[in-house]
Structure formats: structure tokens, C-alpha cells
């Protein structure tokens, strides 16, 4: 019961999705859409488990007065304030996402800048990674380096000003060798993914519930 039922559920879910892909006739055709809606609903409930896990782990830190516990207080306050403003937005404006809702104020002035800044860190990390990683250690590493530099130069007006070679070479590298390797990788990865999915569906691979 504890092991067989989940295996059957996995198999049937996967099987019906595959059938739905090939059989447009009702009731199979709409199964894919339906199962995806179900998936979204189940993940909605699971979100409660996630938030519960987050709250518990930080309540533990606060209760145990672990180092930096007051940061956990900030986290819990942030979480609570967001959920409460969301509820206020829902009850007063009919949607938490209404422009006037305090929830959106929080979104605009905390999540947007936080998101933008974390994202912007990439500019720094891409610089430090290029400094360190692009070294002509051997033939293959040299190719990596040369193609990166050509594409970098080809994407800015100065590159074109130096020589028309750069924008043209940039385009060619992106369109031909870059695309070729990407395709090769994707075909292999797709086969790997199909075989992995099959193993899971058929219960050969079952580490998730063994």
C-alpha cells in the first residue's frame, strides 16, 4: 500500500499524459490541460508546507537565540506583513494586485529593487569569471576565449568601428558553430530526459518514494 499505490499513481498519470498527447478525441484530448491544472492546485497546497517549513526554521532560530536571530525576526516580519497586506488588498480592492493595494506598494519598493539588484550582481560576477576563466591554457580553452572575445566585440558599436569583421563574425559564430553544438547537446539531453522519464514512469527509477 505504502509503496505500490504511489507507483501506480505515477504510472497512470504519466501514461494518461502520453495518451492525451496522441489522442485528441474526448475525453483524452483535454487530459493534459486538466492534469496540469491539477498539478497547479496541488502545488498551491504544497506552498503551505513550504512556508510552514520556512517559518519553523526561523522560529527555531529566534527561540534558540542563535547568532543573528534578529535577522530571522526580520524575515518573519517581512513574511507576515506581506501576507497581511495581501489579505487587505484582497478584501478592500478585490485583488492583492490592485494598484492601490499596500501589497503592491511592498512589491514595488522591496521586491522589484531586490530582484533588480540581485540580477545586477551578475554584471560583476560575469567580469570576475571572465578574468579568471578565459585563459589560454590549451587549444580548447583558447577557442573558448577567442569566440567569447569576438562575440563581445561584435555586439558593441566600437567593434563595428574597428572592423566589420566583428559584427559579421559574431553573427556567424552565433548562427553556425554555436547553434550546432547547442543542437547536439539538446538532442542528447532530450534522449536522456526521455529515458529518465520512462524509467520513472515504469518504476525502474524510484528513489523519490522507495
Amino acid at each position: 500500500m505504502k509503496r505500490t499505490v504511489p507507483l501506480i499513481i505515477t504510472f497512470l498519470t504519466g501514461f494518461f499524459l502520453v495518451v492525451s498527447f496522441f489522442v485528441p478525441h474526448e475525453p483524452f484530448g483535454a487530459l493534459e490541460q486538466r492534469l496540469l491544472v491539477w498539478f497547479a492546485i496541488v502545488s498551491g497546497f504544497t506552498m503551505l508546507l513550504g512556508v510552514d517549513s520556512l517559518i519553523r526554521s526561523h522560529v527555531r532560530k529566534v527561540a534558540g537565540r542563535r547568532p543573528g536571530w534578529w535577522h530571522s525576526v526580520a524575515l518573519l516580519i517581512g513574511l507576515a506583513v506581506t501576507v497581511v497586506t495581501g489579505a487587505i488588498g484582497f478584501s478592500r480592492f478585490g485583488s492583492p494586485f490592485h494598484m492601490q493595494s499596500p501589497f503592491m506598494f511592498l512589491y514595488t519598493h522591496s521586491i522589484i529593487p531586490l530582484q533588480g539588484t540581485m540580477f545586477a550582481l551578475l554584471a560583476f560576477f560575469i567580469a570576475s569569471a571572465s578574468y579568471r576563466a578565459f585563459r589560454a591554457r590549451n587549444t580548447i580553452a583558447t577557442l573558448l576565449l577567442v569566440s567569447a572575445v569576438i562575440v563581445m566585440l561584435g555586439r558593441i558599436p566600437i567593434g563595428a568601428a574597428i572592423s566589420h569583421f566583428f559584427p559579421a563574425a559574431q553573427e556567424w559564430i552565433m548562427d553556425v558553430p554555436q547553434l550546432a553544438a547547442k543542437r547536439g547537446i539538446q538532442i542528447g539531453a532530450a534522449l536522456g530526459a526521455v529515458s529518465m522519464s520512462l524509467r520513472i514512469m515504469l518504476g525502474i527509477e524510484r528513489s523519490y518514494l522507495s
Binding site: 485528441p24 478525441h25 520556512l54 569569471a129 539538446q186 534522449l191 520512462l198 524509467r199
Partner: protein, 412 residues
């Protein structure tokens, strides 16, 4: 050595030949497209109506849809604002059911009742008035039992599945199978070992997607292996999750691994925890764990987007051994640049077979190789057929050219 040098030389030669050729040839691409002059004098009377209105059941669907197509010689005059599609059943007045752009010559009526016979009229709307076509012949929609356009997928997926099952069975019967070394996977145990020696934790990042993404499933199976090693050594394992379903699944897997090696008492579910579903919020949190817990081994396996480099660079900065892997080709370069080992695409999916060294699993790797080989044959064959066909008769009438075209057409 010499062979790789030759290979590189060939590639460099191709680049050197190809690029100048392109520089010469791409001048057209760089030109700004001129604005088309639209000042043709408008005739003072409504245009001719659309003609040749043909309607038919949309193939390969669950019914309820009819495709309407038409031609309109007047269209080039640039006068048409839109096409209106009218529908009626015998004995009723036609009513507008939808519109199409001036550039379109077809419309899908997704609101048909199966079995009911409809007729369609297409009306061209212009500032000078509108013009209606003659009605189409009566048609009805019907559902199909099989999506014929997906026959190729069925055949390919079927053949491949059969190969996987066949080789898995063979493997079960104990036939010894060779699998080449995958450096990143060989390093998994070393990394856990080193973390144990240093008395530092292991950090396992299963990506930012949920379990409907196969890359996440692959990552979770590798997590099982890592967790067993970790449990044997008694090393702490941190698994921060961005998706609650991944969290619950990972908790099951890690708990199971601890149980298997008889260390269930050491399992702490709070270390397999949810952070936030927000891509960069998760990144910020994992970065925080990295700089504070100072893990010695960091695993970045699964689906990653832009955050890949933020995580990998932070991991590099704290001096951890990093093993990364994803099938996202756009993120692979960053992992290669910042991590010690990177599992590229298929290697990520091969991992659970490889790490387990279970013959059953290795069987599916052999099946994958067989499929790859056939794909290579197919591509080379098509290349040869297309090339020889084009050389033999450039007008495209040779048997080989037609074979080539047929092959391509079969693939969609």
C-alpha cells in the same frame, strides 16, 4: 593530442574561411529596409470580394473547430482593414463570428458544434465599404482518435522506449556493460569525502524549477546518492529548495537515504528546507548559506536560469569544490567557467544510472547511445542524399533529392 590539434586547426580554418565570406555576403542584411511608399491613389469604389472561400474540419483535434481559408486578389492594394468571418447554418442569417488581419488568409472557428453543417462567408472591410464573398460549401467539424501529425513522434518515441526496455532487460540478465568515465560524477564521492575530512557541510542546490521539469527529477535522483554518502560519513547536508514540491520530494529522498544506511537518527528535516519561490530571493538566500555555513562541497544540479553564475561565483569565492550540471545550454558556459566539474546536458541524466552502477540503469544508457548513433546515421544519410541529389541534377528532380525532401518532410 595531435588529433585534437588537427581538429582545432580544421575548425579555425573553417572560421577563417567562413567569416570573410559572410562579411561579403551580409551587406544586404545590414541595410535598413526602406519605407514602402503607400501613397497609391485609392480607387473610389469598394474592392472586389474575397474569393475561393473553402472550409474544412481542423485535422488532429478533439473536434469543435473548422478552418476557413480564402484568397483575395485585391489585398495588395493595402486597402483592407480587416476580414470579418460570418457563419450560418442553412435557413439562418449569417452572423459575424470573428476577424482576421489583412495579412491573413485563414481563420479557425473554434466554436463549432460537431456534426452541425456550417457555411462561411468572408467579408473584406475597407474604408470604402465592404465586400462579401460567396458562401463556402457546408462543412462540419469532427473529433479524431489519433493526431496523425504526431505519428513521427509516436514512432520515434516508441522505437526509443522499446530500445530502452530491451537493453534494461538484457542488463538484468547480467550482460556486462561498459560505460566511460564521466569526470564530474567520479568527483561526487571525492567532494563528499573532502567535506567530511574538513568537517564542513555539503550544500545541494536542486535548481529553481518544480518536478514537472525533468532536469529537477534528475537532480533529485542524484540527491539520493549524495545523501547516502553523506549519511555514511555523518557530514551535514543542506538542501535549500525554491519549490515546495521539490522540498517535500527531497525530504522523502534524504530521509530514505539516511534510513538505508541506518542513520535515520541523524536526519534533520529542517536542513531540507524551503526558502522562497522567487528566483533571486532564493539566490540571495543560497548565497547567504554559502558565505555563512561555508560548505566544502557545493552541488548545483537541475534547472537553472540567470542565477547560475551568481551561485557558482559565490561558491568559487568560498573555495568549495563545485559540481554543477544542467541541460540549459544558455547557463552551461557559466558553470563551466566557475565550477570544478560540469555535467553537460545528457550527462546529468546519465548520472543516476552511472552513480548507481546498477546494470538495469546502465542498460538505458546503452539504449540512448544506440539512438544517438541512429540519429547520426540519419543526419549523415540525409546530407549525402541531399548533396548527391543536388549535384547530379541541380533542378531538383533526381530521386535522391526527392528522398531527401521526403525525409525532411517526415520530420515535420
Amino acid at each position: 593530442m595531435t588529433r585534437s590539434r588537427w581538429a582545432s586547426l580544421i575548425i579555425v580554418a573553417i572560421v577563417l574561411i567562413g567569416v570573410p565570406a559572410l562579411t561579403g555576403g551580409s551587406a544586404v542584411l545590414l541595410d535598413e529596409p526602406g519605407t514602402t511608399d503607400n501613397g497609391a491613389a485609392a480607387p473610389g469604389e469598394p474592392p472586389a470580394p474575397p474569393c475561393g472561400v473553402a472550409a474544412g474540419d481542423v485535422p488532429d483535434d478533439g473536434g469543435g473547430a473548422i478552418l476557413v481559408e480564402w484568397t483575395h486578389p485585391e489585398r495588395d492594394a493595402g486597402l483592407v482593414r480587416a476580414y470579418e468571418i460570418l457563419r450560418y447554418v442553412a435557413g439562418e442569417e449569417p452572423a459575424v463570428i470573428g476577424e482576421a488581419l489583412p495579412s491573413e488568409t485563414s481563420y479557425v472557428d473554434g466554436d463549432a458544434r460537431d456534426g452541425v453543417e456550417y457555411q462561411y462567408v468572408v467579408r473584406a472591410v475597407t474604408p470604402l465599404g465592404s465586400a462579401e464573398s460567396t458562401p463556402s460549401a457546408p462543412v462540419s467539424s469532427a473529433p479524431q482518435w489519433f493526431a496523425r501529425s504526431r505519428l513521427n513522434v509516436l514512432i520515434l518515441a516508441g522505437l526509443f522506449s522499446a530500445a530502452v526496455l530491451l537493453y534494461v532487460r538484457r542488463a538484468r540478465r547480467g550482460i556486462d556493460l561498459y560505460v566511460r568515465k564521466i569526470p564530474g560524477l567520479d568527483a561526487v564521492d571525492d567532494a563528499v569525502g573532502r567535506a567530511t575530512e574538513m568537517g564542513r557541510p555539503v550544500l545541494y542546490v536542486p535548481g529553481i524549477e518544480t518536478v514537472s521539469e525533468v532536469g529537477t527529477l534528475a537532480s533529485l535522483t542524484i540527491l539520493g546518492h549524495v545523501a547516502r554518502r553523506v549519511a555514511q560519513h555523518g557530514t551535514p547536508l543542506e538542501v535549500p529548495c525554491a519549490d515546495p514540491i521539490v522540498m517535500t520530494t527531497a525530504q522523502e529522498i534524504v530521509r530514505q537515504s539516511y534510513t538505508e544506511v541506518g542513520e535515520i537518527d541523524r536526519y534533520d528535516p529542517h536542513r531540507v528546507a524551503y526558502l522562497t519561490y522567487d528566483q533571486f530571493g532564493y539566490t540571495a538566500g543560497v548565497d547567504g548559506i554559502m558565505v555563512r555555513e561555508r560548505p566544502e562541497a557545493v552541488f548545483l544540479l537541475g534547472y537553472f536560469a540567470a542565477e547560475s553564475l551568481i551561485l557558482a561565483e559565490t561558491g568559487h569565492a568560498i573555495g568549495a569544490i563545485q559540481i554543477a550540471g544542467t541541460k540549459e545550454t544558455s547557463q552551461l558556459p557559466f558553470f563551466v567557467a566557475a565550477c570544478d566539474y560540469t555535467l553537460i546536458g545528457e550527462e546529468l541524466f546519465a548520472a543516476s544510472s552511472y552513480l548507481g552502477r546498477e546494470p538495469v540503469m546502465l542498460g538505458s544508457l546503452v539504449a540512448q547511445d544506440l539512438a544517438k548513433l541512429w540519429i547520426v546515421y540519419l543526419i549523415v544519410f540525409a546530407f549525402a542524399a541531399g548533396t548527391i541529389g543536388a549535384l547530379v541534377s541541380p533542378d531538383g528532380t533526381s530521386f535522391l533529392t526527392r528522398l531527401f525532401e521526403a525525409l525532411r518532410a517526415w520530420f515535420g
